[in-house]
């Protein structure tokens, strides 16, 4: 699944890019975009599900990455880990605020979750080999949990409530799903 790993930079190239970003070199942003936008945009799109919003979030994410770059500690993990966290959090904030607006008019989380799952993500096409592999190996219940936790930003308790399952079952399924992912990725 090498084509699904476009951001595995050689350590020296990643260090050079980090150095330029740290030195506030604005030209480094275009290199950053070229290397990371696909990896980040895919996650954003999967979370917010609308192209216009995904573009806004990508832009916000780049600005946030630039502005808070001093907070990145290369000793604690790869650049991708850090930027992915920022991007995923912004995306989840986006759908949370949207759910909040919806929730003011209706009944809150359950309805809006139902609405989200019913609204077929028209722009999202799971055509990557890596993704197909993953969907083949994760059983549907595991995939449902992992998507709820990772892409909808549910806590494990919220997921348990949502799926009407005991918390322990959610935890076990999440752990098993992550173990399966771990094996595929290795």
């Amino acid at each position: 699944m090498s084509e699904t790993l476009p951001v595995t930079l050689p350590p020296a190239a990643e260090a050079a890019l980090v150095q330029r970003l740290r030195e506030r070199d604005e030209t480094a942003l275009s290199e950053f975009y070229d290397r990371y936008s696909a990896a980040l945009y895919g996650v954003i799109l999967r979370i917010v599900k609308k192209e216009e919003e995904a573009e806004d979030v990508l832009q916000e994410a780049l600005i946030k990455i630039w502005n808070s770059f001093a907070g990145y500690d290369a000793g604690k993990g790869r650049l991708y880990t850090w930027v992915l966290n920022i991007t995923r959090n912004l995306s989840i904030d986006k759908i949370r605020s949207r759910q909040h607006r919806v929730g003011n008019r209706t009944d809150g989380l359950d309805d809006s979750y139902a609405a989200l799952t019913q609204a077929a993500p028209t722009t999202f096409r799971p055509e990557h080999i890596g993704l197909r592999e993953i969907t083949q190996q994760l059983i549907p219940e595991q995939r449902e949990i992992i998507d709820l936790l990772y892409f909808e930003g549910f806590t494990q308790s919220e997921a348990a409530e949502q799926l009407n399952l005991p918390l322990g079952t959610v935890k076990t399924r999440a752990r098993t799903a992550i173990k399966v992912l771990s094996k595929i990725i290795r």
């Binding site: 604005e26 945009y41 895919g42 771990s182």
Partner: protein
């Protein structure tokens, strides 16, 4: 004592990787990982698995998005820089100001830009009253601004590269000068050593300094004297080695050995004639007459 297996299976690491723990609990997980390699390894595997899942969803953004997003980002971060750190902005070359303004204008035009580029159809209905000419002119202006932003970036990159290269060149030139100087010194020493007139005087330690060893190179035809200072014992503070030429039983000052001399041949004072050389310890700056005892000595074999 922490039960590591229980901790790993508690689901806490997954919660950490999914970002659902509050700061205090995050810190606790980080501390646990720092002190237990098994926990650290498990945590890394969980993080990598979720990252792999994220990566499997990678989708390249539409090509047109690149210029929009990058110019908007550039505009926002540069206005932020200008308002918080005007000194930084002024370091840029003057042409940048005009381009910055262009980019800012582009950012402000952002609300209408996507419409004009045909990406979002909704607002078109309201703009139908505008003349097609004005629309075309706006499109042309936008394209030109995008082109400016692009060219500005390229120019900035080239400029940075040029400055870096000039710095490299200066460093190489000065390194080259140093090497040339060292090479010519080595060459003249080499010539001296191969000269048949040069006498090599082995200095042996006296009972005052049995470990002392040294060699003096003396050329009676040119009067040049060098000393190889490698094997002299370290000196107490405030003292310095001084070399003497003994001619007809009388000591003649042949110069001081530099205090920081560590290696190689040291040029000393020219000496017209000598039958022996001796080294004494003198106060820093040297003496007119040698202070006994002699530390090392050797005779010139003619």
């Amino acid at each position: 004592m922490l039960n590591i297996q229980e901790y790993i299976e508690s689901g806490r690491l997954e919660q950490f990787a999914l970002g659902e723990l509050p700061a205090a609990e995050r810190a606790a997980v980080e501390a646990a990982a720092a002190s237990h390699p098994a926990i650290a390894a498990e945590l890394a595997a969980v993080v990598a698995a979720l990252e792999g899942y994220a990566l499997a969803h990678a989708v390249a953004p539409p090509p047109a998005m690149r210029a929009r997003v990058l110019s908007n980002v550039l505009a926002q971060i540069s206005t932020a820089d200008a308002s918080t750190d005007s000194g930084h902005a002024s370091t840029g070359p003057t042409p940048a100001i005009g381009l910055r303004a262009d980019i800012d204008a582009l950012a402000h035009a952002g609300a209408t830009a996507p419409t004009l580029l045909g990406q979002r159809p909704a607002p078109l209905a309201t703009s139908s009253a505008r003349s097609p000419l004005a629309l075309a002119a706006s499109v042309a202006l936008l394209l030109s601004l995008l082109g400016n932003a692009y060219l500005y970036n390229r120019w900035h990159e080239t400029d940075t590269t040029l400055v870096a290269l000039q710095g490299d060149q200066t460093r190489l030139a000065s390194a080259n000068t140093v090497l040339q100087r060292e090479a010519s010194a080595a060459q003249s020493q080499n010539e001296m050593l191969r000269d048949e007139h040069v006498r090599v005087v082995a200095l042996a330690g006296t009972p005052a300094a049995p470990q002392a060893r040294g060699r003096v190179f003396f050329d009676p035809s040119t009067h040049r004297v060098f000393i190889d200072a490698k094997q002299m014992p370290p000196l107490p503070a405030g003292k310095q080695y001084q070399l003497w030429a003994l001619h007809n039983g009388k000591p003649v000052d042949a110069g001081l050995m530099p205090l920081d001399a560590t290696s190689g041949l040291l040029p000393m004072k020219p000496i017209a004639a000598a039958q022996a050389f001796a080294v004494t310890i003198e106060p820093v700056g040297g003496s007119a007459t040698p202070t006994m005892p002699i530390q090392a000595m050797g005779t010139v074999v003619m």
